[in-house]
């Protein structure tokens, strides 16, 4: 049993003009994660504390928040790895809805506009059988398909902070994932989000997204490779105007 000071950024849109920190003394078990400490506060100290969580096993991507200034999944952040004073804030670079809950409308719109789903090269009926894919074809995009939309990469990205119109790491990495899928033929349909100025070209390769990604998606790599492809497509469209 270890007692920690949990500083939580609170904001109630109905009563507060701006966020404020509230400190809770939380007795923690050795194997607790930060999310357990927050649940303890909600269950035993202040039931009005508002936050998102679901799976408690780094799969759902709901419980992302800033812990001591770094974006992490709070279900994956073990108390034993932190000092006695732990400061919890809502994900950076997003507006605060209430307490630790952020407004994610911007991300959701960008994700939807990026068309992160297979747009088949050729429509096949069920009778024609399944779409086949070799292990090598799978390897071309598998790592980028691990994204759980937790938005930690957006909270880490200074370019998203400075230019909110930036499509951002996760949406671009997912676009790249579907562009590289051998079953897919939708690259041209995704280019309006991917290759525009606010797409891959807004990225200055800070690399923070890949550092904080809990699923090792490496969005920075997807975006760099996307720049290469986008630059090639740009020159192709000049040299071979009929290819578009």
């Amino acid at each position: 049993m270890r007692e920690i000071q949990l500083e939580v950024l609170r904001y109630s849109p109905e009563t507060d003009s701006e966020p404020r920190f509230e400190t809770f003394q939380v007795p923690c078990q050795e194997d607790w994660v930060v999310l357990d400490a927050i649940n303890h506060v909600k269950d035993h100290m202040d039931s009005s504390l508002t936050y998102r969580w679901s799976c408690h096993m780094a799969v759902c991507g709901s419980c992302g928040m800033m812990v001591n200034g770094e974006p992490v999944l709070s279900c994956k952040a073990f108390i034993r790895d932190y000092p006695d004073k732990i400061r919890v804030e809502p994900l950076a670079n997003f507006p605060i809805e209430k307490d630790l809950v952020v407004v994610m409308d911007d991300f959701m719109e960008k994700l939807k506009a990026s068309k992160p789903y297979i747009i088949p090269k050729e429509e096949k009926s069920i009778d024609d059988g399944e779409y086949l894919q070799t292990p090598l074809q799978l390897e071309a995009f598998k790592q980028y398909s691990m994204c759980i939309n937790c938005m930690l990469c957006y909270a880490a990205c200074p370019q998203y902070a400075l230019a909110p119109e930036f499509v951002g790491p996760a949406a671009l990495a997912l676009t790249y994932r579907y562009n590289k899928d051998s079953r897919d033929g939708g690259k041209a349909e995704r280019a309006h989000m991917f290759s525009k100025s606010e797409g891959v070209w807004e990225c200055s390769f800070v690399g923070a997204c890949s550092e904080v990604c809990p699923k090792h998606v490496d969005p920075a790599a997807a975006i760099q490779l996307g720049k290469v492809e986008s630059a090639v497509d740009y020159f192709k469209s000049f040299l071979m105007p009929w290819s578009r």
């Binding site: 200074p158 400075l162 230019a163 280019a191 309006h192 290759s195 525009k196 100025s197 797409g199 070209w201 200055s204 720049k227 986008s230 630059a231 497509d233 740009y234 020159f235 469209s237 000049f238 105007p241 578009r244």
Partner: protein, 111 residues
């Protein structure tokens, strides 16, 4: 075509120049300081190097590519430092690099 940003055009020289700068700039600086082979950059030798097409082409590459790399990076970095007037910064960086390019070509041909 409309969907593609023109940043794609400048990105290839940026990447090529960054790569070239990473490999050759440190050793070039060591040579121009004269710490190693101080006599190697004498007038006769430098002139002989720049007096043929291979030498001219090499000089063109090592001067222009890193310069365009720097110009593009400076444009991006100005935004990072809080200067958000990209149109003005873009013109300043690229016009300077353009002037440098013209000077390089003109004086390489003059040798």
């Amino acid at each position: 075509m409309a969907v593609h940003s023109h940043k794609a055009l400048i990105w290839l020289p940026f990447a090529a120049g960054g790569m070239l700068a990473a490999f050759v700039l440190p050793i070039m600086i060591v040579l121009t300081t004269g710490f190693l082979f101080p006599g190697a950059l004498s007038y006769e030798r430098a002139y002989a190097f720049a007096d043929n097409w291979i030498g001219k082409l090499i000089l063109l590459g090592v001067i222009l590519l890193p310069m365009w790399h720097a110009a593009h990076r400076l444009r991006i970095t100005a935004h990072d430092f809080g200067i958000h007037n990209d149109a003005a910064v873009r013109w300043a960086c690229y016009v300077l690099a353009g002037v440098g390019s013209v000077l390089t070509v003109v004086f390489l041909l003059a040798i």
